[in-house]
């Protein structure tokens, strides 16, 4: 039985979600189920298409905040393992932004943990996003949806 704390990484360079998830799965043969969420920069057409996306973080708070979120998530559900990988910096369409994976004996725990972690990463983590379209760079304001998502867990 692998007993290990959550793994949290904040990366300034591109990563392979496939390799990350394969390694995580291999590390948790005792888990009956593994749920993953991959968020990536959308490839879209048209004048509103995003050409690049930049996530800024704040060294003093962003990774510590992610680690606290991972600890909270791991405490709330019965997990065999939890992985959170998040990019900062400039990304292009198709690039992965965030990967969350939760391994658990019971499927429901894995789903809920991944869902919970994503809702909080989206709306409570210290990231600031701007997007570049044909019209130039533009800072993104938080979406009302993100706050609604968060309220589900209260």
């Amino acid at each position: 039985m692998a007993v290990s704390g959550p793994a949290v990484r904040l990366l300034g360079e591109d990563f392979s979600p496939t390799d990350e998830l394969a390694a995580f799965t291999a590390a948790h043969p005792e888990a009956g189920g593994i749920v993953s969420f991959l968020g990536q920069v959308r490839c879209e057409g048209g004048v509103q298409a995003v050409e690049a996306l930049e996530l800024k973080h704040y060294a003093a708070m962003t990774l510590p905040g992610m680690e606290a979120l991972a600890a909270t998530t791991a405490k709330r559900w019965a997990l065999d393992g939890l992985l959170i990988v998040h990019r900062f910096g400039v990304m292009r369409p198709g690039d992965p932004i965030v990967l969350v994976a939760a391994a658990a004996r019971h499927r429901r725990d894995a789903f809920a943990a991944a869902d919970f972690a994503m809702d909080h990463l989206k709306s409570q983590s210290w990231f600031w996003k701007r997007e570049k379209t044909a019209a130039g760079w533009r800072w993104i304001e938080p979406r009302a949806d993100d706050h609604r998502d968060l309220a589900r867990w209260l």
């Binding site: 996530l55 003093a60 994503m118």
Partner: protein
């Protein structure tokens, strides 16, 4: 040793810089020395502050000491 202001998100664009070294002093005095347009943004209702990595509660009096890092955090929009 000076203190440091850190401007996150769109505040970096407005400030034209990510960080600014300032003389340790009560926050009002530090802000009074800045471009008023920037100071107004920094004091915006939705901007939170963190001192040395810890969030401050609203209306908390801040006096910057030597080596302090005060960050101005607009609403997040991550992931």
């Amino acid at each position: 040793m000076p203190a440091k202001l850190v401007f996150l998100g769109r505040l970096e664009d407005i400030a034209g810089m990510g960080e600014l070294a300032v003389t340790p002093a009560p926050l009002e005095l530090v802000l009074a020395a800045l471009d008023p347009a920037l100071a107004v943004e920094l004091l915006g209702e939705r901007v939170r502050m963190a001192l040395n990595g810890s969030l401050l509660s609203d209306n908390e009096a801040v006096v910057l000491a030597e080596g302090d890092e005060l960050a101005f955090l607009p609403p997040v929009s991550g992931g």
